[in-house]
Amino acid sequence: MGQNGKRVVAVTGNEAVAEAMRQINPDVCAAYPITPATDIMQRFTSFVSNGKVKTEMVLVESEHSAMSACVGASAAGGRVATATSSQGLALMWEILFIASGTRLPIVMSLVNRALSAPLNIHGDHSDGMGARDCGWIQLWSENAQESYDNMIQAFRIAEHMDIRMPAMVCLDGFIISHSIERMEYLDDETVKNFAGEFKTTNPLLDIENPVSYGPLILTDYYMEYRRAHAEVMSKVSKVVLDVAKDFEKISGRKYGLFETYRLEDAEIGLVVLNSAAGTSKDVVDEFRNRGIKAGLLKPRLYRPFPYEEIGEALKHLKAVCVLDRADAFGASYGPLFMDIASGVYPHKNGPLLINKIYGLGGRDYLPEHAETVLAELAEIAKTGKVKTLREYIGVRE
C-alpha cells in the first residue's frame, strides 16, 4: 500500500493546505493577505524563510497582481501556486479567465468566504460560485483531510498533459480553515513522487525557441479556441478519477467525482458542498436509525460539473433538497441547485427537487436544519407535493 511514514496530526485546514504546498514545493508562489486564507501563506512563507522549500515568493501589492504574476510565472515554465478568499478572488476575476484561456496549470486554494457588501469575513460559497464558470477546475473539500488530499491531487490534475488547466481547491473559511481536526499527512517523499517533476510546455524562458503568449484573436478563430477549452474540460473527469486511483494507492483514501453517503437505496437525499456535509451525514444516520431511507451526495469536482454521473446517482430518489451556501440573485435558485437540476432533468421519473439557501456569511448550519429539511423531504416523498420550491433557512423572518 505504500502507506509507510504516515503522520497522524491535529491541525487546521489552513495548516494542512500549507503542508501540502510545502511537500509539493512549487517553483514560484505569489501571495497577498486576506482573511481567512492569509494564514496559508504566512505558514508557507515561514517554510521559505527557513529553507524548507525552494520556492521563490512574489509578495505582490494586490490579488490582481498575484494572479497576474502567477500567469507570468507559469508561462515562464514552472510549478506555481497561490491562495486567496472572497474579495481577493473577486479582484483576480479578470485574470482567472486569462490563466485558463492560456492553459496555465496554476493551483490555488480558495478559502471560501462571503463577498461584500455587507463586509463579512466568514465562510460561504459566494466567492467560489462567482468564479465557477471561469474555466478553472474546482475541487471542493469537506474537511482538513480532504483539503490536503485535494491540494496534492490538484497539481497532478492541472498539470496533466491532456488538461493543462488551472485548478482551485475550495475549503470553508474558518469552519475548516481555522478549526483543528485529526488527520493524516503523507510523508514528503511519497508526495514528491506522486506530484512528479513539472513538465513544461512552450516555456517563455526558452530563449532559443521564442513563443508569443496572449495574442489578439478576433472573429476568425476566437470561437475555435473557446471550443477547444470546452473540449479539454470534458476530459477532466477521467483524469480526476485516474489521479484519485493513484492517490488511493499512496493514502488508502478513496476519491471520486462526488461522494455518496447511504444513497444507493435512499428515497430522500441532501446535496451539499463542503463542511456542511459532515453535519448532514450525522443527521442522515439519525433518520436511518428511525427507519427513514435518507442519503446524501456531496459534489467534489464542481467544475467541470459531472452532470450525467450525478443525474445517475440521484435519479432513483423520490425527493432531494439541494443546500446552497450562496445565492444566485435573480436566478430564483442557488447555483448548486441549478446544476443539480440540470443533471436530474433527463430522468423523467427523477426526484422532486427543493432548494434551501443556508449558512450565508458564516451563519451556523445546525443539525436541526438538516432534520427539518429531511422531515420536509420525507413528507414530499410521501405526498408527491412540494410546498416551497426554494427558501432561506436559519434566517430571521
Binding site: E56, E61, S65, G77, L204, L205, P210, P215, L216, Y221
Partner: protein, 314 residues
Amino acid sequence: MATPLSLKELSKKELLLTAGHRMCAGCGAPIVVKMALLAAEQPIIAANATGCLEVSTCISEYTAWKIPWIHNAFENAAATLSGVETMYRSLKKQGKIDKKIKFIAFGGDGGTYDIGFQSLSGAMERGHDMLYICYDNGAYMNTGIQRSSATPFGADTTTCPAGSCNPGKLQQRKDLTKIMAAHGIPYVAQASPSHWSDLVKKVKKALAIDGPKFMNVITPCNRGWRSKTDDAVKLSRLGVETCYWPLFEIENGATRVTVKPKEKKPLVDFLKPQGRFKHLFAPENEHLLKQAQDQVDAYWERLLKEEAFAARQE
C-alpha cells in the same frame, strides 16, 4: 561583445520586432521598441500591456516578436513580468537554467500612468530585475484617443473634447518619471526616438544594472496627435527642443539632463503641427497657450536645479 554605438553597427543587428505588424504607418511605438531591442546585448523576454502595440503585433496565427513575449491584460504588464522574472530566478537557483536573461515590459501611457500604475509601483518596490518602458503617446489610442493622466494640458481628446465650455484637457500631465524616481530605484530616464543614440545608451545602461529600472519615452501617434504620417521623429524632436519632453536620467537619485537644446524653442513649435492643439490657437485661448508655456518653463527650470544639486553632491 558589446555592439559599438554607431548606426552602422546597429544596422547590422537583427530587428527583433519584424515588419508586417499592423500598427499605423508612421506610428512611433514600433520605432521605440526596435531601438530598445537593438540596444540590448542580452537575450530579452518582453511583456506587453494591452494597447496599440500589443493588439497590432500579435494577432491570431501571427507574431511580430522574435523574442519570447507575453501579453496578459491591460493593467498588469509589470506584475506579469514579475512572475516571469521570479520563475527565472527560481529555476536559476535550482540550476535548471543557466543563461543570463533580461526582462523588458512595454506599456502605453494608459497602461502605465493610470490603470497599471499600482502594478508598476509594486514591481519596482519589490526590486525585480526588469526595465519598464512606457511608450507615452499621451492618450488611450487603442480605444480611440481618450484622455489619460499623460495627456498634455489643453489637448483635445475624445473624452475631453475641446468645446465651447471646455478647452480640451484642463489638467497638467502626471509627472510619472519623477514618481518612479521617488521609488528610489537605481535608474529612471526619459528618452525620445528622435535622439536615437541617447535612447540606445539609456537602454544599454538600464539593462546593465540589476534591479528595477524605468524609462519614459515620448512616442508620437499620428492618429491621436492629428499630425502628418511621417512626422513622428520630427515631432518627438520638437518635444525635446521645446523642453516639453526633456531628456534626462536619474541614476541612484542623481539627476542629469542628457541632452540640452542649444536654443530652447517656444512650445508652440511643438503644438502647432498637431491637430489636437489646434483650438488653443484661437484668439480666446491665448491664455491657455501661455499657461502651457509656463508649465514647461517651470518644469525645465526645476529640472536644471535638480541637476545642479546633484552635481554639487558629487
